[in-house]
């Protein structure tokens, strides 16, 4: 049975360019515009307005019991779609038919009041999410148990740690019993243990025949939980179907981030009078005929530059940074004497080394092992996607690196 039928839904926002920095208008602005308009002066200094379609002609159906993962870049329209489905905002055009009670969980702990105690907030939050008082009472003990906050039930939530806050928020939502559950990025918060608990709970929910719409950037979680996926891009539903298929397609689009640069002549290349870059390039050795880098993929970094000085002692130094700015490693070549001409270098980063995430490479040319001649700060960037085999845990794998070290386990003695 089809529980959600979306026909041509669109959502348009108007963006003011002149006042982009200000959140809301003031009456004075409106009046002065009206007055200018009245005197016919409006035309030239009118605010430049641009239409922005957050969603455009989106069609889909969802069947009862489907677990639909919704993926796409930030700003692709995923959250707008969820807001329309949960009636928070109206579509500009189109129509959605929904059968059954919808509960949306757009943010864990929505409507918590910091001054109220945990107990009071359970009832408040439950009521906001549409639960009846009796339903909340029945679920109360399991909520408290799931969140692990027994001791702090009568403490105002403003004194809670952020972890407790999130756990309590999720526990309440997880005990809702709607026919359709809409979830946005719950897994972005909380520690690995908690994420595992959340995913387990969501799987329970779906096994009882409910329909789940799940937005997440955690593709491993989407793959493990969902049987179908929607891939949104620039407000359009670009692809829908089987999760693995859609996720792989999405990944091969994402991966083409910034894998190479090439400069024809020394004049164009970045550098100084002494050296100029010719090319920088990442050359992945894709696994399983996939078109994106995952944690198993070995990656080669090729660098070429012109040495413009007659003779110089040069070496290269390469920094690899995580997207968050921490340096993961810094490696350097040996210093060597070069004649005028092209110099090339290759670095091999093995597979099963970097963890999943976004990385940025910066490259330095060093003279006489002491003077930095030139630095190319964001020379290259790339994404490493997750890949797991033989595990049933899909939380974010911690750490910057994910090496496969020799870690042996065996039974050393059997107790009889």
């Amino acid at each position: 049975m089809q529980v959600i039928i979306a026909e041509d839904i669109s959502k348009k926002y108007i963006i003011d360019h002149q006042k982009a920095a200000r959140k809301s208008h003031t009456l004075r602005d409106t009046f002065s515009e009206k007055i200018k308009h009245f005197f016919g002066k409006g035309e030239q200094d009118e605010v430049e307005q641009e239409e922005f379609w957050a969603l455009r002609d989106v069609n889909f159906t969802v069947n009862q019991g489907d677990r639909v993962g919704i993926i796409g870049h930030n700003g692709a329209g995923k959250s707008t779609l969820l807001k329309i489905l949960s009636k928070i905002t109206e579509p500009t055009g189109g129509k959605v038919k929904i059968k059954g009670r919808v509960a949306s969980l757009l943010e864990v702990g929505t409507g918590f009041h910091p001054e109220l105690t945990g107990r009071e907030n359970i009832f408040l939050n439950g009521a906001i999410l549409g639960m009846k008082r009796q339903e909340i009472k029945n679920a109360f003990d399991s909520i408290v148990d799931f969140a692990g906050v027994e001791k702090f039930l009568d403490t105002p939530v403003k004194r809670y740690s952020s972890g407790m806050y999130v756990r309590l928020g999720f526990a309440i939502s997880a005990h809702l019993s709607p026919e359709i559950l809409i979830i946005d990025e719950v897994l972005a918060v909380g520690d690995a243990d908690f994420q595992k608990k959340c995913l387990g709970k969501m799987r329970d929910v779906s096994e009882s025949g409910r329909t789940i719409l799940f937005v997440s950037h955690n593709l491993a979680a989407v793959k493990s939980l969902c049987n179908r996926a929607f891939y949104f891009e620039h407000g359009k539903l670009k692809m829908q179907g089987d999760t693995t298929h859609v996720v792989n397609n999405y990944l091969s689009h994402v991966a083409k981030t910034n894998l190479q640069h090439f400069w024809e002549t020394p004049e164009e290349g970045p550098g100084t009078d002494e050296i100029r870059f010719r090319s920088v390039k990442i050359d992945p050795e894709y696994q399983d005929s996939k078109l994106y880098i995952d944690v198993r993929t070995p990656v080669r970094v090729h660098i070429e530059f012109w040495n413009l000085a007659d003779r110089a002692d040069l070496n290269l130094s390469l920094h690899l940074y995580a997207f968050t700015g921490e340096c993961i490693f810094n490696v350097g070549t040996a210093s060597q004497s070069f004649e005028k001409g092209l110099v090339s270098a290759t670095l091999e980063v093995p597979g099963n080394f970097l963890n999943d995430g976004s990385y940025v490479i910066s490259i330095m040319v060093v003279k006489d092992t002491s003077t930095v001649l030139f630095q190319l700060p964001d020379a290259l960037s790339f994404e490493v996607e997750d890949h797991r085999e033989g595990v049933t845990w899909y939380g974010k794998w911690p750490g910057y690196v994910r090496p496969q070290l020799n870690f042996q386990i065996s039974q050393s003695e059997v107790l009889v």
């Binding site: 949960s86 009636k87 905002t89 129509k95 929904i98 059968k99 929505t110 409507g111 408040l124 026919e179």
Partner: protein, 280 residues
Amino acid sequence: MAYSDEIVIEAGHGAKNYWRDLWKNRELLWILSRRDLSVRYKQTVIGAGWAVIRPFATMAVMVFVFSMVGKFRGDAGIPYPLMVLAGITIWNFFSSTFTQISHSILLNSNLVTKTYFPRLIMPLSSVVVGFVDFFISIALFALISVWFRHTPGWQIILFPAFLVLTLLASLAFGLIFAVMNVRFRDIAQLIPFLVQIGFYACPIAYSSSLVEANHDVWWYDLYYLNPMVSIIDGFKWCLLGDGAFFKVSSLYSTMGLIAVMLTISIYYFRKEENSFVDYI
């Protein structure tokens, strides 16, 4: 699984079962009211005592200024402090519910952007704080009446009617302001100013009989156009008896005005409520 209902989401349609939804969400209304109440006096030492102290202190100041410095008098047979207190009590109720309603959407912006429920719940739940303060002030009024050996007349049975009328008036004006407040933050600046003007434009420190005495002044009709004038006069008459000045005919036009305003503001609120999230 039993499917409770089928909904259709479409542009400009709103929810078709709006009033039914509102009724279904009455528990939320109740719990949001309780939230506002229990948060109200958190981390204060005097707590609900503030609801007593504020009208009492205002009365004391006004009695000093208008009765001792300027020589204002109450209507015949009515002690001036008692008249002032009656006026302040109902005015405070109006101004606090009006202010709360006007701010109700903004104060709950986290709910507006994250969940759906009929938005009227927010202004409706915000008035409860005003009610509680009002009943505390009425208790204060009763105590002071005993001190002045004043007993109310038969009119006291109309007390609930005036209370409801005041509530409707604050909804009639508050809802429009609540909607405008979402888009124009100027409203937040305007409200305290309006309340301050209202305090002097309404018969609180003085009796409408003073206005009636200058029947032919040009602003006479303007004075009675203010719906709170006849409500306050009526409320004072209800508490203080026949001695208090009350022009009953003025109440009819007020009721008409409130009915029209309330219809317009509910219509406006319903029309705009789905776009709150886009502007908040």
